[in-house]
């Protein structure tokens, strides 16, 4: 392959991911207890607890760690990021948007429940995400995360999720679908920087904020996050043309068939791989000034995103 891992240490990345995902899953389960009316809470839990690698929460915990914080400080942010990711998927799958019947191998929320419940479950997850992040009761009682950090984290999340963040990406994507004119590289980058990278950026930056990072550290971690956010999408596009459906566990070649604009289409496969290399390098460079042991998870997360095979 064109991409070779830049580092090999004895850090047990797989073990790290599994351990953190398990802690996050427990926290997610506890954050959405069944309550009246049951059905809307069942829909929220159905989509939120459906599995997935929990990349956003783990990035958040890892960024908190590199800033010198403990997992408990970042868990409210980690939980809120997964809730927002889930709500955006629920709304994205609706018939009026991407109209997807399947999500993570089982019926999407509006298929398992109904459209109204899916809209409301998404709305409720969005509110719960912000409520969970903002509520002082979500944090350790020793005030290790003071109110100024909580308020800053909320401001950051709202910017990344709103009409100039995640929603802007969804809109740009909707508007690029079905129009005759080819999508330019700039427009493609806009879509991905907002639709995918914005929430990854929020994940890393929120972790850094609650972990007590300095402004300079926060900005370096932000650059790291933007690079891996775009990298995530470039690699996704490359895999779609280089792997079989069997290898991917989903339909390969879908982008080509659906006429979707991708990096390989705009740049060619080789140049796309070079772009991915550049993004990985840009991301890992930002980690240079941090304690290498504490930065190991973020470094391996970047490599994981670059070298994943599906």
């Amino acid at each position: 392959p064109a991409l070779e891992p830049a580092v090999s240490t004895d850090f047990d990345f797989r073990g790290y991911m599994l351990e953190k995902a398990a802690v996050v899953n427990c926290a997610l389960d506890a954050a959405v207890p069944l309550a009246h009316p049951d059905r809307i809470h069942e829909a929220m839990r159905y989509s939120l607890l459906a599995g997935g690698k929990r990349v956003r929460p783990v990035l958040c915990l890892a960024a908190c760690e590199v800033a010198g914080g403990a997992d408990a400080w970042a868990m409210p942010a980690a939980v809120s990021l997964e809730m927002i990711h889930t709500m955006s998927l629920i709304h994205d799958d609706l018939p009026c948007m991407d109209d997807d019947d399947l999500r993570r191998g089982r019926p999407s929320c509006h298929r398992a429940f109904d459209e109204a419940t899916a809209v409301l479950a998404g709305d409720a997850l969005l509110a719960l995400a912000f409520g969970h992040l903002a509520n002082p009761a979500s944090y350790p009682t020793d005030r290790s995360v003071p109110p100024d950090r909580i308020v800053r984290a909320v401001g950051e999340l709202s910017r990344c999720v709103g009409s100039e963040g995640l929603v802007a990406g969804q809109v740009a994507d909707l508007e690029a679908t079905g129009v005759g004119a080819p999508v330019t590289l700039d427009h493609l980058e806009f879509i991905h920087l907002h639709k995918t990278a914005a929430l990854l950026e929020a994940s890393v930056v929120l972790g850094a904020i609650v972990g007590g990072a300095s402004d300079d550290q926060i900005e370096r971690l932000r650059k790291y996050a933007r690079s891996i956010g775009l990298l995530f999408q470039v690699v996704d596009d490359i895999l779609d043309v280089t792997k079989s459906s069997e290898e991917l566990g989903k339909t390969a070649g879908k982008d080509l068939a659906s006429d979707k604009t991708t990096y390989p289409k705009l740049l060619g496969l080789d140049e796309s791989k070079e772009f991915a290399d550049k993004l990985l390098k840009a991301a890992t460079e930002q980690l240079a000034g941090f304690d290498p042991i504490k930065a190991a998870p973020l470094l391996h997360l970047a490599n994981y995103i670059a070298y994943r095979q599906k």
């Binding site: 409720a124 509520n135 401001g155 709202s158 709103g162 009409s163």
Partner: protein
């Protein structure tokens, strides 16, 4: 108290505030890239004919306990954004399927269902961003108060609040008992008013006891407006606006509905009486909301 209320000019108070609120909202939602979504957001937030009841409730509650109007103003605008977001989603074809809102085309009719969903989704974070960036802090609002305001709004909107109210309303509570219908009204309408009063109180520096009184007052007023709307609609022979499938008059009859109106009015006033000794005339705006809910002596209009 009827005499006391009449000495306070609610109409001027309300319409003056509406102008200020609309000016702030106008500035808060400029058209940016991508333009389509921001145009939809502006349509939703600046829709003509809105009474801006949540922001007015928030500001009046803040001023009641001696807070500055500027302390509550950003949160007041944010409450209107959140309120507007819930209305856009309530109007969707898969929900109440309303092509009109206050006599104008609803957002999905003008911009498409996808844009209407995204406009609602964007308004919630925008509201949070507005509070965080515009609330004057640490002076006069201590930084530790802001997370409490944000938490309160999330609770009101969420799965046990307004989302629950809309869900119960859609799933047939209209055919239910008095208790079930009142629960829909409390969740669909009481929560927003309750949250507005509590946020105003928090930002104005209310004590815990005062916050609890404001909480009960707000909830009662939110339900009261809807009860009276139902009664007025039935008295007009079923014409007029209908914001909920659940109608109290259809469920329990006119006599019992009028009794309920009086019960809820008395409950709201009882909570306000607790503020009289300490704050004197400052309770008048909140009193006048209660009476206005029933008398509707004028039509609320902005600029």
């Amino acid at each position: 108290s009827a005499a006391a209320s009449s000495s306070f000019d609610l109409r001027t108070y309300w319409t003056t505030l509406i102008s200020q609120i609309e000016e702030a909202l106008d500035a808060a939602v400029p058209v940016r890239y991508p333009e389509s979504i921001h145009k939809a957001i502006r349509h939703v937030v600046l829709s003509p004919g809105a009474k801006r009841a949540p922001p007015i409730m928030c500001i009046a509650s803040c001023e009641l306990v001696g807070g500055l109007r500027s302390a509550a103003f950003p949160a007041a605008c944010a409450l209107e954004m959140v309120h507007a977001a819930s209305l856009v989603h309530d109007d969707l074809p898969c929900m109440d399927a309303s092509p009109l809102r206050r006599g104008h085309p609803s957002a999905h009719a003008l911009f498409g269902v996808d844009m209407a969903i995204l406009a609602g989704d964007a308004l919630f974070p925008l509201a949070y961003q507005h509070i965080v960036t515009h609330t004057p802090s640490p002076d006069p609002v201590p930084l530790s108060i802001i997370p409490l305001v944000l938490t309160e709004i999330a609770r009101a909107v969420g799965s046990t609040g307004m989302a629950a109210g809309q869900f119960l309303d859609l799933s047939g509570a209209a055919a239910g008992s008095e208790k079930e219908i009142l629960q829909v009204l409390e969740k669909k309408f009481g929560e927003m008013a309750e949250c507005s009063a509590v946020c105003g109180g928090l930002l104005g520096g209310a004590s815990d006891q005062e916050l609890e009184a404001l909480r009960r007052y707000g909830r009662a007023v939110g339900v009261l407006y809807q009860l009276v709307d139902d009664v007025l609609m039935e008295s007009n022979g079923g014409t007029g606006k209908m914001r909920s499938n659940a109608s109290i008059v259809k469920a329990v009859g006119m006599d019992r509905s009028l009794e309920l109106v009086e019960e809820v009015r008395a409950k709201a006033k009882k909570e306000l009486d607790k503020f009289k000794d300490k704050y004197g005339e400052k309770v008048l705006p909140l009193y006048s909301f209660v009476d206005y809910a029933i008398e509707r002596g004028f039509v609320v209009e902005g600029r």
